[in-house]
């Protein structure tokens, strides 16, 4: 009985001390961690919009560049990030929209940036993905992302939609090559991109605004 009490008291005390240490560390680190996370988010948006920034820029510099160049706009369930053109009032150089969905192993998140015509793809980035390294994980590599540049989110007849085609058969203005051995990942990516493209179409209308 006495032994059990001792065990219980020991476990309780140890738990309290460990919990206090962890809470303290978490509290102290939180502001820095949040600043880093915000800088990371901002860096992704700046990168996909093509806003120039220095490679080793600090979090404050990134956030400053973001505040200067980018304006966020809520459109229904879509948040659009406009890269403002500071030389021409009211116009913008690019716009980015987030997309997200379930990949093969975990969530995939990224940004799709369009030119001001709202049809041509300026850039794409997948900043969060856990696909199979060497196969689906190739969506994170430059060759896969670069082939989206200059492609259209509409086919020749003006129907919205992007296709990721296998067998190296991408030829139309809205087609990109799939990754060999990553059919599942490519299918899921195509699905989430088209969902976002449809949303962009709904929220901005066909006239580009």
């Amino acid at each position: 009985m006495k032994e059990s009490l001792h065990t219980l008291a020991y476990a309780g005390m140890l738990g309290i001390v460990c919990a206090l240490l962890l809470t303290g560390a978490g509290r102290l680190a939180a502001p820095y961690r949040h600043a880093n996370e915000e800088a990371e988010r901002v860096r992704n948006i700046l990168g996909v919009l093509g806003v120039p920034f220095q490679e080793g820029a600090s979090s404050q510099e990134l956030v400053a560049a973001y505040g200067l160049n980018v304006s966020e706009e809520e459109r229904g369930e879509l948040t659009l990030y406009f890269y403002a053109d500071r030389e021409a009032e009211g116009s913008f150089r690019a716009v980015a929209a987030p997309f997200a969905g379930q990949g093969l192993w975990g969530p995939i998140r990224g940004f799709l940036a369009l030119e001001p015509d709202m049809r041509t793809i300026r850039a794409i980035t997948f900043y969060d993905q856990e696909e199979t390294p060497g196969l689906g994980g190739e969506i994170g590599s430059a060759w896969f992302q670069d082939q989206f540049k200059g492609k259209s989110i509409e086919d020749a007849e003006g129907n919205p939609g992007l296709r990721i085609v296998g067998g190296g058969g991408a030829s139309a203005q809205n087609e990109v090559d799939a990754i060999t051995g990553a059919t599942m990942t490519c299918g899921k990516v195509e699905e989430m991109l088209n969902a976002t493209i449809a949303l962009i179409g709904e929220e901005t209308g066909a006239d580009g605004q």
């Binding site: 032994e3 001792h6 065990t7 020991y10 476990a11 140890l14 738990g15 460990c18 240490l21 962890l22 560390a25 978490g26 102290l28 680190a29 820095y32 961690r33 880093n36 800088a39 990371e40």
Partner: protein, 216 residues
Amino acid sequence: MGSNAPVACGVCEGKGLLTFKDGVWHDNPISIQILGICSALAVTNRLANALVMGGALVFVCAMSNLFVSFLRTVTPRRIRMIAEVAIIATFVIVFDQFLKAFYWEMSKQLGPYVGLIITNCIVMGRAEAFALQNRPVLSVVDGVANGLGYAAVLAVIGFIRELLGTGQVLGLTVLPPDWYTSNQVMILAPGAFFALGFVIAVSNMLKGPEPEENRP
């Protein structure tokens, strides 16, 4: 190992230097005990990663040994292992938070491996095998020594892999790409096995053969 003359050191009961040498060399956790090689293989594609991981282990091993040893007389035997894990996990998370706050890029590079130190056999092993039987200061010496032994092996593997795999050391190009074509396999998983095998072989060669019956 008993042949070394104990060096006087008040708080360490004269066993400080011996304990230190054991951890770093004679009983090196990786090259002799072959413990903790999961992370040794996973994070050594860059020397910088290997050094940070080594630093993490020095910190965690020293702190957990200190606390386990400090509490060794009051810890109920039945729950000692879960208590050790709780202590180890606390310090691992503290280190992880520190990295996330001040070395964000490094924290992203190491990914889950910092958290996985909780399950690193070296830390648990030292707590069970050493800290439970020895005084706090000597336990800290043991923790630091084992952490350094791990860090040293990781640094050598990281150095070999980064040099042969990318022609760089700590991100600085030392082998110009004109006459050295970097060998991609060294930064992939097989390269880690080659480098680890090489390090263990060399350290065994330097030590010379040791008959089984001489081992304690």
